[in-house]
Symmetry: C3
Subunit: 206 residues, 3 copies
């Protein structure tokens, strides 16, 4: 199992957990849990593959869908033990992000893409599944929450990978650094409210 | 005209009706009706074709667009005779779903896809056009309405088709059963409030 | 630089400005500005390329992403000088629409597409980026605002191009007319409230 494969499976499982948790907040039935889990889990990677003209990863290997469905079933029967589902969503999502960004980077590198495309595919794979989850369920997109450090983490992680590769570092190291930087920043954002300055020269207008 | 083709046309027409009815609820002009009708009618099938790397069906055969536009014009001039547009949307959508799911199944079988992909393509073709319609028009997605039997119907129909094919049944029978199961479940959901148990161990949290 | 290329760059820059202005209304940080700018700027053209099975334009030529990011940075540091950001969004969006519609038409003609597909690709390229921007940021989609002349302008512009080509007119003239018609209608809509009659036979129902 290559690094890309392992990362893809892990990202799919953890994102599926967050999708199912959002489904539990919306009080859907079990098929709704599976639907949301799959959408969240494979949404970003599907966009990546479609844009890069690769075969869509879960069409090639439907096991991903079983993994995501399993996560949904797990959550359906255990979500009530969580004290705060919203907090669980945030932290699981941080883990998934830190796995999905290197997965996207690996796929783009595998295609021989140039570095700007590597950056974008890291961000796409990491952020679009969660964006679809939130848009479909009418939650405020985590990606765009005011002053939330999110896309920034994905970008920083992807930059770390590109810099490592440019310095002739090996791919596994690049992916590891990518995930570590992404998680460190996101965790800092969640735990210590790390922020970039937001645009606030005026009150928003209607 | 193959079975796939006939199903595609029928699904496009009926989904276009529902898209136009949602446009009438949003009080759009006639071009808005056509836009919403086309988005709803071809959205799911477009996703299916893009993911399966097939030529997009309405690019190959633009007649689909005319069919959807015709449905939009029809609704623009006649929607006021309906007593309840919301009820009409639900029931027309049920018919469209029962036609689109077999259309998606047929396309995936035609590609020689494995059974999990056949199931997913049935659900994708059936559910994503309506999901786009509702997300764009800011309606609560029918697909995800709390306790509404929707994705479940598509899944059950696709399972019926896969079981028939596995038992060496002919494709037309499989597609017929698929549509029948989908419609029966969805109609039962609408008429008798058939439901799966929803996740409700705790009140939803903010 | 071909006509298609020049139009694509111009459309990307101006749509990116509108995406960044929406980001400023949502008070995002600078990475959020870049994210929204890129989504708005390349969303419509990406859909066009995926549906037409072309290589996605910004994967081939990542300069587009730099152009969009530059627009985002520009807006981040200067948006506060605008007296009304909403008005600026409307007018910039009108310019971008008038450039993106011919860009979509040119790409479809370049593929040898039939005229219905040329029309749809003009509308797709012109309208879907802005639609994604508004859906993601929870603004009422400009495309579908009640009684707003929007998709209609794109359609009229694309029709003008198709008629010119049918009359054996040269492509550059067709693209010029396409942009001019689109802008004239949209500007008339913004300045003089030009409208098509909307569907309003009954009050909207819940």
């Amino acid at each position: 199992m290559t690094a890309t494969l392992a990362l893809d499976y892990a990202a799919v499982f953890v994102f599926a957990l967050t999708g199912a948790l959002v489904a539990s907040r919306a009080q859907l039935d079990i098929v709704g849990f599976v639907f949301m889990a799959c959408l969240t889990a494979v949404g970003g990677g599907t966009m990546r593959d479609v844009i890069l003209k690769r075969a869509v990863f879960w069409v090639e290997e439907p096991t991903y869908i079983f993994v995501a469905s399993l996560a949904a079933v797990l959550v359906f029967f255990t979500a009530h033990v969580l004290e705060s589902r919203l907090k669980a969503i945030f932290w699981l999502d941080a883990v998934a992000l830190s796995v999905a960004v290197p997965a996207g980077v690996a796929a783009a590198v595998d295609q021989g893409a140039s570095w700007p495309i590597v950056l974008i595919m890291g961000i796409t794979t990491g952020c679009l599944g969660g964006l679809m989850r939130d848009v479909v369920c009418n939650e405020v997109p985590l990606v765009l929450k005011q002053g939330e450090l999110y896309v920034t983490c994905a970008l920083a992680g992807a930059v770390a990978a590109v810099l490592t590769l440019t310095a002739a570092g090996p791919l596994p190291l690049a992916l590891l650094l990518c995930g570590a930087v992404t998680f460190a920043l996101r965790a800092g954002g969640l735990a210590f409210q790390w922020r970039l300055p937001v645009y606030k020269s005026q009150p928003p207008r209607s």
